[in-house]
C-alpha cells in the first residue's frame, strides 16, 4: 500500500453529527477496508462536536459530513456552500415517539398540550404539528430545546414526545426495557424522505471533482457493504470505537435493521439521491415558510431541487 | 493590696519573632487600687502595650493571672475600656459614629448614642469634624477621636495606651486636665501607658516603670502630691519622682554625659 503513506494525498475532513452509531457504518467500513487509501485519499474523521456538520463544511473546516434531509435543504436554501452527495438512508428512519408504557398517548392527536423534547431545529415543531393536525388534533405542543439530552428527558418522563432514530435510540430503548411507540410521518400524509444525507462543500466538489468523486465512490461502497454484510460491518464499527458501545449486540441488531428496511431504495440500490424524493420534504418546508434565503428573508419561490444534490457517478 | 481592683500576677508572655518565640513579659506583677490613676513607663518596645493587652484580656499570657475585683479575668476582654496605641478608628464610620460605637455596642440606639457623645466631641475639639471620615483627619485629631471613643463607653476602668502622644502642647494640656478632672469626679480607675515622665507624675497616683526586654516591673513610685495639680508646674514630690524615674530609665545619665559620645544601651 504505497499510496497510503503518500503525504501528498488530498485530505478529506469528514464531520460527524453525533457520537458513533450505525448511521456511520459505511464510513467506518470504507476506512477499515482501506478503500479511501486505495482511492489515494487521506480521510480524517473529525470528532463529534456541538457544531452542525453543515456549518463546519460551509466554514471550510470540513469537506464533507453527515447531515439530514431537512438540515441540508435548510442550509442550502440559506446559501451555505454545501450540496448533498449521498443518501445512506433511503427512507424516513426517524419517527415521532412516545413511551410505549404511556397509555394516555396512543395517537398523534393525544399529543396536544404535551411537551416535546427537541434539538431546536426549525422544522421539528412544524413537522410534529402537521402530523398531529393530520390526526385531527390542534397541534399545540410545548417545545423544549434539549439537544443531546432529549431522549433522556423522554425516558425520565420529563418530556412526552421526542424524535429518535428508530434503529438507534428506538432499539436501545427497547433493549433496556422501555420500548417506544412510533407515529410514522408517512402514515399521516407525508412523502418519504432521506433520513440521513452526506453533504459536501459545493465549491470543493466544483474545484476538485475527481477527488470528490473518488471520495463519494469509496464512501458509497462502504454503505453498500454495510447493507450487504450488516454483521461484519457492525463488527468493524464496534472495532473502530472500542469504548463507545455499552452493548455491542445492539449495534449488530441495529445494522441488520437498517440493512433490511432503510438503506436500499426501491430498486435495491444504495446511496443514490432522486430529485423527486428530495423535493417532497423540501416542498413541505417551503410551504411552512421555514426556508429562508441568504438575506434572511423567507423563500417564496420554489427552488430548483435538482441543484440541491449532485450525482458524482460511480457504480450504484 | 487586698482592695486592689486590678491585680496582675506573675505574667509571662513570649511573642513570635523571626528567630522563634521571644519573651516579652517575664513575671510582671501589678496592683491597681480602685479609683486610682496608674501610669506605666518604660523603654520603647519593652512590652507596655503588650502588658495593656494582657490586662484588657486581649492576650492570654503564657503564665500568670489577671484578677479584677478578685475574679480571674485572664484572657477575658470586655471589662475595661481600651484605647490602642494606633487609634483603630473604623474607616467606614464617621468621627461621630466612631465615638458612639461603644454605646451602640452596649445596646443604646444609634440616634441616642450619637446624641450622647456630641458634648464630648465639643470638649475634644472634634465638633467641626463630626462627619469626617477617619482618613480625612490629622494625626492629633485621630488620637482625640480614639480617646473620645474610649471614655464615651462610660466604663469604670480605662486602659489608655499613649493617649496624648500626637497632641500639641495646648491640646495636650487641655485633655490632661479634662482627664484628671473627670477621673476625680467619676472615681474611674485608670491605667495609662505614656512615654512622657512629666505627664506621668502630673497625673498618676503611682508610676510603674518597666525594665526592658523581657519586661519586669523595675520600680513603683507613689506620687503623693495634692490635687488638683499643675502639669507644667510640678510640686516637690512630683519633681522628685520625675527625677528618679528618669534616672531609672537612664535618661538623666545620658543627658549629663558628653553629648556626642552618648550611646543608647537597651
Amino acid at each position: 500500500d504505497g499510496a497510503a503513506t503518500d503525504a501528498d494525498r488530498p485530505v478529506v475532513r469528514f464531520a460527524l453529527d453525533w457520537t458513533p452509531n450505525t448511521n456511520h457504518t459505511g464510513l467506518e467500513v470504507a476506512l477499515a477496508q482501506g478503500w479511501f487509501d486505495d482511492a489515494g485519499l487521506d480521510v480524517q474523521v473529525l470528532p463529534y462536536t456541538d457544531v452542525q456538520p453543515d456549518a463546519l463544511i460551509d466554514a471550510g473546516a470540513a469537506e464533507a459530513g453527515i447531515s439530514f434531509h431537512g438540515d441540508s435543504v435548510l442550509a442550502q436554501a440559506a446559501g451555505a456552500d454545501v450540496v448533498a452527495v449521498l443518501a445512506p438512508l433511503q427512507h424516513w428512519a426517524s419517527a415521532i415517539a412516545v413511551r410505549a408504557d404511556d397509555a394516555t398517548i396512543t395517537r398523534p392527536r393525544d399529543l396536544d398540550g404535551r411537551v416535546y423534547a427537541g434539538f431546536g431545529g426549525p422544522a421539528e415543531v412544524p413537522l410534529l404539528q402537521a402530523v398531529i393536525r393530520a390526526d385531527g388534533g390542534r397541534g399545540d405542543v410545548t417545545a423544549v430545546t434539549l439537544g443531546t439530552s432529549a431522549y433522556a428527558a423522554l425516558y425520565a418522563g420529563e418530556a412526552d414526545v421526542a424524535i429518535p432514530f428508530v434503529a438507534w435510540e428506538g432499539l436501545a430503548a427497547q433493549r433496556v426495557g422501555t420500548p417506544l411507540r412510533y407515529f410514522r410521518y408517512t402514515d399521516y400524509g407525508f412523502p418519504d424522505a432521506y433520513a440521513v444525507l452526506v453533504d459536501a462543500r459545493r465549491s470543493w466538489v466544483a474545484d476538485e471533482p475527481e477527488v470528490a468523486a473518488a471520495f463519494v465512490d469509496a464512501l458509497r461502497r462502504g454503505y453498500q457493504y454495510a447493507a450487504d454484510h450488516p454483521d461484519e460491518a457492525a463488527e468493524l464499527l464496534v472495532a473502530a470505537h472500542p469504548d463507545a458501545f455499552a452493548d455491542p449486540g445492539m449495534v449488530v441488531e441495529s445494522q441488520r435493521l437498517l440493512a433490511a428496511e432503510y438503506m436500499r431504495a426501491a430498486d435495491g440500490t444504495v446511496g443514490g439521491i432522486e430529485t423527486a424524493q428530495l423535493a417532497g420534504y423540501g416542498d413541505f418546508l417551503l410551504e411552512q415558510g421555514l426556508l429562508a434565503g441568504p438575506d434572511g428573508d423567507v423563500l417564496t419561490t420554489r427552488p430548483d431541487w435538482s441543484t440541491f444534490h449532485v450525482d458524482l457517478g460511480g457504480e450504484p | 493590696m487586698a482592695d486592689a481592683l486590678l491585680q496582675v500576677r506573675d505574667v509571662h508572655l513570649a511573642l513570635p519573632a523571626a528567630d522563634g518565640p521571644r519573651p516579652v513579659l517575664a513575671g510582671v506583677d501589678l496592683a491597681v487600687p480602685r479609683g486610682s490613676f496608674t501610669c506605666v513607663v518604660g523603654p520603647s518596645g519593652c512590652g507596655k502595650s503588650t502588658l495593656l493587652g494582657v490586662v484588657a484580656g486581649l492576650r492570654r499570657p503564657d503564665r500568670g493571672q489577671v484578677l479584677l475585683d478578685g475574679c480571674d479575668v485572664t484572657g477575658v476582654p470586655g471589662r475595661a475600656a481600651w484605647m490602642a496605641q494606633d487609634d483603630l478608628l473604623l474607616e467606614w464610620r464617621t468621627v461621630l459614629d466612631n465615638v458612639a460605637l461603644g454605646l451602640e455596642v452596649q445596646g443604646v440606639r444609634r440616634r441616642d448614642a450619637r446624641e450622647r457623645v456630641r458634648d464630648l466631641l465639643v470638649e475634644f475639639g472634634l465638633a467641626d469634624h463630626a462627619d469626617a471620615r477617619p482618613s480625612e483627619l490629622s494625626g492629633g485629631l485621630r488620637q482625640r477621636a480614639a480617646l473620645a471613643r474610649t471614655v464615651a463607653q462610660g466604663r469604670d476602668l480605662l486602659l489608655l495606651d499613649e493617649p496624648f502622644g500626637a497632641l500639641d502642647a495646648l491640646t495636650r494640656l487641655h485633655l490632661q486636665r479634662w482627664l484628671a478632672a473627670t477621673w476625680a469626679q467619676h472615681r474611674w480607675t485608670v491605667v495609662m501607658v505614656t512615654h512622657d515622665v512629666r505627664e506621668a507624675v502630673a497625673l498618676a497616683d503611682q508610676v510603674v516603670r518597666l525594665s526592658g526586654q523581657p519586661a519586669r516591673v523595675a520600680a513603683r513610685h507613689p506620687v503623693d502630691d495634692p490635687r488638683p495639680r499643675h502639669p507644667t508646674r510640678p510640686g516637690a514630690g512630683a519633681r522628685a519622682v520625675e527625677h528618679s524615674v528618669l534616672t531609672g530609665l537612664g535618661a538623666l545619665g545620658v543627658a549629663d554625659a558628653e553629648p556626642d559620645r552618648a550611646r543608647h544601651d537597651p
Binding site: Q52, D54, A55, D58, A59, D71, L74, A75, A78, G79, A80, D81, V115, A117, F119, G120, G121, P122, T142, A143, V144, T145, L146, G147, T148, S149, A152, A153, A156, E158, A292, P294, G296 | G53, A56, G57, L58, P77, G78, R79, A80, A81, W82, A84, D86, L88, L90, E91, W92, L101, G102, E104, V105, Q106, R133, S135, E136, Q153, L159
Partner: protein, 256 residues
C-alpha cells in the same frame, strides 16, 4: 460622580471603535455573512425581530435575577457560617472548590431531568455558577478585617454578632462588591447555559434555534442582548456599591 458622563463617553467610543473595525473587516474582506454578518446587519435584524428578542431576553432576565438572588443568599449564609466556624472552613472550602469543577454543562442536563423545565433547574444552574465567587469574596473579605478592630470590639464587650456587624461586615464590603461584579457577569452566562440544557424560552434557546436555522446574525443579536443585560446588571452593582460603601471612594486626595 462628576465623571459619569465622561465614563459613558469613553465606553461608547471604545464600543463604537470595535464595531467600526468589525464593520470594515466584513465590508472589505470577503467574509460570508453566514459566518460573520456585519454589525449593521445584526442591528437591523435585531430591530426586525425585537419582539422575539425582548420576550426571550425577559425570560433570561427572570432566570438571572431569581438565580442570582438565590445565589447571593446562599453565598451569604455560607460565608457567615464559615466565618463563625473556622474549623468547618478548612474542611468545606475545598469541597466548594470541588463543587465548582463540576462542569455545569454536564450537570445542567441532569438537573433538567431531575427538576423538569420550570424555573427550578435554571435557578439552580445560575446559583451553582455564581455562588462560589461571591462566597469566596465574602469569606476572604471577612478575614480581611484586621485583628485590631476585632480586639477593640471585644474590649467593648461586643457579642460575636456585634463584632460581625460592626467590623467584619463593613470590612468585607469592598471585596464583596468585587465578587458581586464577577458573579453577576457569570449569572447571565449561567442562565444561558441553563437554557441550552433545556428550556422553552430564553436567549440560550433562541440562540440554539437560530444557529440551527443558519441565522448567525440573529445568534449575534442574542449575544448582544446578553451583553446588554450583563452590562446593565454590572452597572447596577457599581451604583449600589457607591451607596453602600461610601468610605471606599470618600473625598480622596493625595496625602502628605
Amino acid at each position: 460622580m462628576t465623571d459619569v458622563p465622561g465614563r459613558a463617553l469613553a465606553v461608547g467610543v471604545g464600543g463604537l471603535a470595535l464595531l467600526g473595525v468589525w464593520q470594515v473587516v466584513v465590508a472589505t474582506g470577503d467574509v460570508a455573512p453566514r459566518l460573520l454578518p456585519s454589525p449593521a446587519r445584526v442591528a437591523q435584524q435585531a430591530w426586525t425581530h425585537r419582539d422575539a428578542l425582548a420576550t426571550h431576553a425577559g425570560a433570561t432576565l427572570t432566570v438571572t435575577l431569581v438565580g442570582f438572588a438565590v445565589s447571593v443568599a446562599v453565598a451569604w449564609a455560607l460565608a457567615v457560617t464559615l466565618d463563625r466556624l473556622p474549623r468547618l472552613r478548612t474542611g468545606v472550602v475545598p469541597l466548594l472548590v470541588a463543587s465548582q469543577t463540576v462542569p455545569v454543562l454536564v450537570v445542567a442536563p441532569l438537573l433538567v431531568l431531575w427538576f423538569g423545565f420550570g424555573l427550578a433547574p435554571k435557578v439552580l444552574v445560575v446559583t451553582l455558577v455564581t455562588f462560589f465567587p461571591v462566597a469566596l469574596g465574602l469569606v476572604e473579605g471577612f478575614a480581611a478585617a484586621g485583628p485590631g478592630a476585632s480586639a477593640l470590639l471585644a474590649t467593648m464587650g461586643a457579642s460575636r454578632w456585634q463584632e460581625f456587624v460592626h467590623v467584619r461586615l463593613p470590612a468585607a464590603m469592598p471585596r464583596f462588591f468585587t465578587a458581586l461584579r464577577i458573579g453577576v457577569t457569570y449569572a447571565v452566562v449561567g442562565a444561558v447555559v441553563a437554557e441550552y440544557a433545556g428550556a422553552v424560552q430564553g436567549l440560550g434557546t433562541y440562540m440554539t434555534m437560530q444557529r440551527a436555522a443558519f441565522r448567525t446574525d440573529l445568534v449575534l443579536a442574542a449575544v448582544g442582548a446578553c451583553a446588554a443585560l450583563t452590562l446593565a446588571l454590572y452597572a447596577l452593582t457599581c451604583a449600589v456599591e457607591r451607596v453602600v460603601v461610601p468610605w471606599g471612594r470618600a473625598r480622596r486626595v493625595r496625602r502628605g
